[in-house]
């Protein structure tokens, strides 16, 4: 019996969300009186994988097959299933990311496991039941879900817990070969296109986010959003109408029909706060709203607010951040 953690890597680094997942997995292992092993996917360096010891991981499996550098659904599923069987994993923990959801859902069938996605807290195991809390109704509610299968798969929502850093602790990195065949790579991507991210901060992974709505008036004014984001080292986002008219790319659109984010700080500039927009951001820890209309519904969901003109307020905020730094 053990806990297996799926760690996503890119350009040699372990993704921030996977450090959280590793922390989560190690804590579940401690609860169950066992150890946590990680299986790394994507492009990783041995040094960075060994550092997963800081999150409480004992051992890291890594298959250096070069075709695993990019996400291949079938190959990743087989790789992780093979590792789960070898390790006798009872609990599998992964990120609630596009990769995590793609492989987690297939694995739940292959391993006959109970799957919970969008999980926001450590499990409760009293009374012999295994219960996880997950977000539901697009951020408007939570549900406690009993995972009744012998095996369980948990996809942890980003930024739901803080990654632990026990400096100096290292994990043993072990070569792993899942004996993948060419057929496992039949759905390999023909091409991978990465988008330019403001200041290099990936929106789904961002701890701080500055977001603009129709109140920004046009794409030519977005430098105001970007300057504040750069000063804060934040990611940038937008409302749906903004991406619908191509002021901003679609991958920045947050909300019910866009991506859901839960950063530590979300700064909404010229966004009214429609319920469908809130669905994508209302689990942010702190929400700041800048809107010239004091009646804008977003103020009801905000922690801090400024009733004012974005064109006046944003430069002041950027200046204040620069001063503080």
């Amino acid at each position: 019996m053990s806990v297996l953690v799926v760690v996503e890597c890119a350009e040699g680094e372990v993704k921030k969300s996977s450090l959280e997942v590793a922390t989560y997995g190690a804590q579940v292992a401690a609860m169950l009186g066992t150890t946590a092993t990680a299986i790394a996917v994507g492009e990783a360096t041995e040094a960075n994988l060994a550092k997963l010891g800081e999150q409480g991981i004992a051992k890291v499996l890594y298959d250096a097959e070069p075709r695993l550098k990019d996400f291949v659904n079938n190959a990743y599923t087989k790789l992780i299933a093979t590792a789960a069987e070898q390790e006798g994993a009872q609990v599998l923990v992964l990120a609630n990311s596009n990769i995590g959801a793609s492989v987690g859902s297939r694995l739940s069938v292959r391993l006959k496991a109970s799957l919970a996605t969008n999980v926001v807290e450590l499990p409760k195991t009293d009374g012999g039941q295994f219960v996880v809390k997950r977000g539901a109704f697009s951020g408007k509610a939570f549900s406690d879900v009993v995972l009744s299968g012998d095996r369980k798969i948990i996809a942890v929502k980003k930024n739901s817990l803080e990654a632990k850093h026990d400096a100096g602790k290292t994990a043993e990195v072990v070569a792993f070969a899942a004996q993948l065949a060419d057929a496992d790579f039949a759905d390999a991507p023909k091409q991978v296109v990465m988008q330019e991210q403001t200041g290099g901060v990936l929106l789904p992974e961002a701890e701080l986010v500055v977001s603009g709505g129709r109140g920004m008036k046009g794409p030519e004014n977005w430098h105001l959003i970007e300057e504040l984001a750069q000063a804060l080292h934040a990611g940038t986002a937008c409302s749906k109408p903004v991406s619908d008219v191509d002021w901003r790319p679609h991958h920045e659109h947050v909300g019910q029909t866009g991506i859901t984010i839960s950063p530590n700080l979300y700064i909404a500039c010229g966004i009214s706060g429609a319920i469908q927009h809130l669905a994508g951001v209302n689990s942010s820890k702190v929400i700041v709203v800048i809107n010239k209309d004091p009646e804008a519904p977003f103020f009801k969901a905000a922690d801090y607010g400024i009733v004012g003109d974005v064109f006046d307020v944003l430069p002041k905020l950027t200046a204040a951040v620069k001063e503080l730094n």
Binding site: R106, F137, A141, D187, V193, K300, V307
Partner: protein, 246 residues
């Protein structure tokens, strides 16, 4: 090409969420149900591809009780040819996936499209379960879908970018924007939808693997603290010293 489009019946996006007094069930009283917004991308794209490929058909599928039929009819009005309702209260995602897989296998569908996720249970998981049950590829979430014969080219969103993936039918894709501009029914569609076939079939498969123990609403916000626009820099100090987020 035979398209199967899975639609979920969900509370309208503006619904104020509440639960029964024991917090065990969603309170449906007074709630209007709609086709899951993501599923509208799947439906419209299937109809577009049908129109471009003579001889193709689009079947919509819902796992639900009779109260979902108005939205199934709406999908028919938008342009699907026929519909299947698996007559069961959905228990969990695996249960739903088993029903979809059984219908897909029975009917020999080539392309199984669904929405990225349901806006009520936010599972984002049915796609992979169906693909695995049928032993066929899944592409999730897909932002673009083109077909040439039985070969599909899709754009899959990954964090920070996209992958261009090619698969041959049969396959599963879970759809999201900007795949297409979702259509709304027109008068003619609404009239013809009334007589399009809607088949009701019994559920199959095993018991659910998860059970909801309890629902809860998020804790209420304290209320907003307003800062004077003239003194906007003050906000940054509060974010550092009070909220401690920067």
């Amino acid at each position: 090409m035979k398209f199967l489009v899975c639609i979920s019946n969900v509370p309208d996006t503006t619904t104020k969420i509440s639960f029964t007094p024991d917090n065990k069930e969603f309170n449906k009283a007074g709630v209007q149900f709609v086709i899951n917004p993501w599923d509208e991308y799947a439906l419209t794209r299937a109809i577009e591809l049908k129109e471009a490929n003579a001889g193709s058909t689009v079947t919509v599928l819902n796992v639900g009780e009779a109260d979902t039929e108005p939205n199934i009819r709406k999908a028919l009005a938008i342009g699907a040819d026929d519909a299947i309702r698996v007559n069961a209260a959905p228990q969990d995602a695996f249960f739903v996936a088993e029903q979809i897989a059984a219908v897909a296998k029975d009917g020999g569908y080539d392309v199984i499209l669904m929405g990225k996720e349901s806006i009520d249970y936010n599972g984002f998981q049915v796609h992979g379960m169906v693909g695995e049950l049928l032993g066929i590829p899944t592409v999730a979430p897909a932002m673009k879908l083109d077909m040439a014969g039985t070969t599909a080219t899709l754009e899959r969103e990954i964090e920070g970018g996209k992958e261009i993936v090619e698969v041959s039918a049969p396959f599963v894709a879970s759809c999201q924007q900007p795949m297409c501009e979702p259509r709304i029914p027109n008068m003619r569609g609404i009239m013809t939808a009334r007589t399009k076939p809607l088949k009701v079939v019994p559920a199959v498969g095993d018991a659910a693997r998860t059970q909801v123990a309890e629902f809860a609403l998020p804790p209420k916000k304290q209320g907003v603290k307003l800062i004077d626009a003239a003194n906007a820099g003050e906000l940054i100090k509060l974010l550092r010293n009070e909220a401690k987020v920067i």
